[in-house]
């Protein structure tokens, strides 16, 4: 996310002025109410003493970062017209306008969570392509596992628990086929004859 780099050529060990600057900045960052990640996120490329200035508007890398973030957030939001597409995927006008709103909010230093909350406030949770795991939504996440457990239980019940294979012993017993009721008189005669000869 941040693009601060360090130019080691500009860090001679005996440079007292640079050390003093580093100390002041470390103190300023330490005492700052803003999170350090935010300060770093606003930094620009360059020397170590240049981390504090925000990237200027129109900066190519910053624009690319904004585009990436806009696409990432847009991918989590449902297009209100296409329904089955995300805002990032859709080419509908409302989706493009929503991307514009996302981008503007990012430029206003809004976090992705704040931006999602903004759209949820307007459209409801329906706008989220990935419903939050809370309330009735939890069913969506729990149900597949319940179905899997139920399926395992049913399969277990079918094949039988406790080390048996579920195959009845009677089916393992080899016995002479009961053909008495199915043979015709001629076949029975032939069979009887074959038995007596063997």
């Amino acid at each position: 996310m941040h693009r601060s780099t360090r130019n080691t050529d500009q860090l001679p060990g005996t440079n007292k002025r640079l050390h003093a600057q580093m100390f002041i900045w470390a103190l300023a960052i330490g005492l700052s109410p803003a999170p350090i990640t935010k300060l770093i996120a606003q930094s620009v490329d360059g020397a170590f003493d240049g981390v504090e200035a925000p990237a200027p508007a129109g900066d190519e890398v910053r624009e690319a970062e904004l585009d990436d973030l806009t696409a990432q957030i847009g991918a989590e939001l449902r297009c209100p017209i296409c329904r089955q597409q995300s805002v990032a995927e859709s080419s509908s006008r409302i989706a493009r306008e929503m991307q514009g709103v996302i981008r503007e909010m990012l430029m206003d230093e809004k976090t992705p969570e704040e931006i999602e909350a903004y759209f949820v406030q307007s459209y409801g949770e329906w706008i989220l392509l990935r419903p939050k795991v809370q309330g009735l939504n939890s069913i969506l996440y729990v149900l597949p596992f319940l179905a899997l457990i139920l399926a395992l239980v049913l399969i277990g019940a079918k094949i039988g628990f406790g080390g048996t294979t579920g195959i009845h012993e009677s089916s393992l017993t080899v016995s002479a086929p009961d053909t008495g009721s199915t043979l015709s008189a001629r076949d029975r005669e032939w069979l009887d004859k074959a038995r007596s000869e063997s």
């Binding site: 409302i94 306008e97 709103v101 949820v120 307007s122 459209y123 409801g124 049913l154």
Partner: protein, 184 residues
């Protein structure tokens, strides 16, 4: 055990049956029962002039999103004209927001079909998105207390409009002007 498997399908079938009774294209508004977001938009005829929701403080507001290319908007337009003519502007304000349309197209539409209530444009659809609009026409009935009573997402008819407006006028209380939610 034989009945377990068929029984497992019962809630699933019930859910599907319930789903078939619903119109998937119609969604409840997330704003109903909440304070209407405030906005300031440029006038349809004079871009240097602007209209805000808080200009109608203490009044029932019928907020209509429309476009000249929208066929149901043509159907509902006479109802809006009648609404504007029937109710006292001191009690009820009608405000139309042009959605995804060029101002000149909107002006031509009004020239053909009439209407002289406040109309504004919404470039970039910022206000429409803030209101969760996903198509036109959409109409929001906002009480004097700034609470969104109803969002209707098809062409309005006179029965609906008069019932809603009468009910909101009758229940007019102390405006919660200090609680108007700011858009910015």
């Amino acid at each position: 055990m034989r009945w377990v498997l068929p029984l497992a399908f019962v809630p699933m079938l019930a859910l599907l049956a319930w789903g078939l009774t619903r119109d998937a294209r119609r969604l409840p508004s997330a704003l109903e029962g909440k304070l209407a977001p405030d906005f300031t938009l440029a006038d349809l005829y004079d871009p240097s002039d602007s209209v805000s929701l808080h200009d109608f403080e203490g009044k029932v507001v019928v907020l209509n999103f429309w476009a000249s290319w929208c066929i149901p908007c043509i159907t509902e337009h006479p109802v809006l004209v009648k609404l504007h003519e029937t109710y006292d502007p001191e009690d009820v304000a009608l405000l139309s927001v042009l959605f995804q349309d060029a101002p000149e197209n909107g002006q031509a539409f009004i020239q053909d079909l009439g209407g002289d209530w406040p109309m504004v444009v919404d470039p970039g659809s910022h206000t429409a998105i803030r209101y969760g609009v996903y198509g036109v026409p959409e109409t929001f009935f906002i009480g004097a207390d700034r609470e969104v009573a109803l969002r209707h997402d098809l062409a309005v008819n006179w029965d609906l409009v008069s019932t809603m407006v009468d009910s909101l006028v009758a229940s007019q209380g102390t405006p919660k002007s200090s609680a108007i939610e700011s858009q910015d």
